[in-house]
Amino acid sequence: MSNNDDKLNILVFTCNWCAYAGADLAGVSRLQMPTEFRQIRTMCSARVDPEFILYAFKNGADGVMVAGCHPGDCHYIGGNYRTRRRMALLKLLLQQFGLNPKRFRLEWVSAGEGQKFAQVINEFVNEIKELGPSPYRKKQEVRDAG
């Protein structure tokens, strides 16, 4: 990830069946979206291990979003029930680590909700822009330097 202060590192995990398709729809519908985020597709939102998110923040992420199917719509029936419990607990943990709660977000986006995807991504990127680089970027530099 970039260590350049002007460039933000925003990571969005999308599940294959809903959120990714929603993002795709937002794209083909030519909805206005910022370019400052990078997307990682997983088969299910439950594949997003909390360790991945901690790892992302360690490596300079300024914001991380996890997007999956709405409760009740999971392709694997209950994957997102696990996701929502994990992510809720992770949210508490990240706050204890001192991160602004806005840097981490969980969203439900269906395959037909291109509009919603564009809206939440716009909102999220703007919020992260307001917050600026994550404090973990500087901490990491100090540590790497010895």
């Binding site: 790892y55 360690k58 809720a88 680590f97």
Partner: protein, 337 residues
């Protein structure tokens, strides 16, 4: 096999509670077996020695050095480096040297806040001028006094020097010490090879894998309430998590002999994570979240409801990283906007 019949051993403490020195004494009568193959040449707790004695020893003249305690100040770091120079094999002994341990929990704070609490705000402190420890001070006659520098965060041993082996736990248990004793004896006698550099001298499995209370593979645990160990009388045979009591077994390395479980106390994770995960806290978080039961009215629950439900877990950071915060992915708490 070492080049001599008898090896030498040194023990040095950093930011340590000295419990690890006592753990060595806990070799009990087996200590004599250790002394048969190893001369203890330096140990401020066990022998009448001075730091200068260690400094004067030739480089690499000590076969094995055990360093216990975390690295909290410049003195700890300086002696970690001296130990590295003097010892052929350097072992991080105990949770503090391995992962930062209990002193590593200070990484929820920083130097400025700690100084303010300790030297200003505590009830018994009278310090109207706000004098904080200085690393150097010279009196009117020109005598210079120095103090080590207190670091802004706590480090584990391998953050400051190269480490050959790790012996986890707070402190290493008798079972583990016997394993080290057999390894050292076998090596000195030419019967055993040392493990690969960087090894953690313990198991690769999780504590649950070895726990007699494990409800068995495939059996799903589901809880809807977390209970504090101080509030309930735990069933002496049932898995703690199944009883709704936080137990770090799923995220903790086996090898301690599970003395806590035996004493009907849940595991707090002092052995640290296994090598298969990056972060003990992240691993425990997943384990705990997956046993928070899915309710019948799941579809009616909002994310706020779920957040309220999981907030039964008080202080996840302190409980999940009790012994490993400096070696967690994020190392320490930061301040954000």
């Amino acid at each position: 096999m070492p080049d001599k019949k008898k090896i030498t051993l040194a023990l040095k403490r950093g930011a340590s509670c000295v419990g690890c020195d006592i753990a060595v004494v806990n070799f009990s009568e087996k200590l004599f077996e250790l002394i048969e193959v190893a001369d203890i040449v330096f140990s401020p707790t066990l022998l009448d020695v001075k730091y200068d004695d260690l400094i004067k020893m030739p480089d690499k003249s000590i076969t094995i050095g055990l360093y216990h305690g975390a690295v909290r100040n410049s003195d700890n770091e300086e002696f970690a480096k001296i130990m590295r120079e003097k010892c052929q094999i350097l072992i991080a002994y105990g949770a503090c040297a391995h992962l930062g341990g209990i002193p590593g929990l200070a990484n929820v704070s920083n130097r400025a806040k700690i100084f303010e609490t300790v030297y200003k705000k505590t009830f018994s402190t009278d310090n109207p001028e706000g004098i904080y420890p200085q690393t150097e001070w010279t009196d009117e006659k020109g005598h210079k006094l120095t103090l080590p520098e207190f670091y802004d965060e706590v480090y584990a041993l391998d953050d400051v020097v190269d480490v050959d082996y790790y012996v986890p736990a707070c402190p290493p248990t008798h079972v583990m010490n016997m394993q080290i004793l057999n390894l050292i004896k076998g090596w000195v006698e030419g019967k055993l090879e040392l493990p690969p550099k960087g090894s953690v001298i313990a198991e690769e499995k999780t504590l649950c894998d070895e726990c007699p209370r494990n409800p068995g593979k495939g059996k799903k645990i589901k809880i809807d309430k977390l209970r504090l160990i101080t509030e309930v009388e735990p069933d002496p045979e049932k898995c703690f998590l199944e009883q709704g009591i936080l137990c770090l077994g799923p995220a903790t390395r086996a090898g301690c002999g599970a003395p806590c479980i035996e004493a009907n106390m849940p595991c707090r994770g002092c052995m640290g994570p296994t090598s298969r995960v990056m972060d003990q806290g992240g691993s425990m978080l997943s384990a705990l979240a997956s046993i928070f039961g899915v309710s019948e009215n799941e579809l009616e629950l909002s994310e706020e409801d779920i957040e309220k439900f999981v907030s039964q877990m008080k202080d996840p950071l302190g409980c999940f990283y009790r012994f490993s915060l400096p070696k967690s992915l994020l190392h320490r708490v930061v301040q954000d906007k």
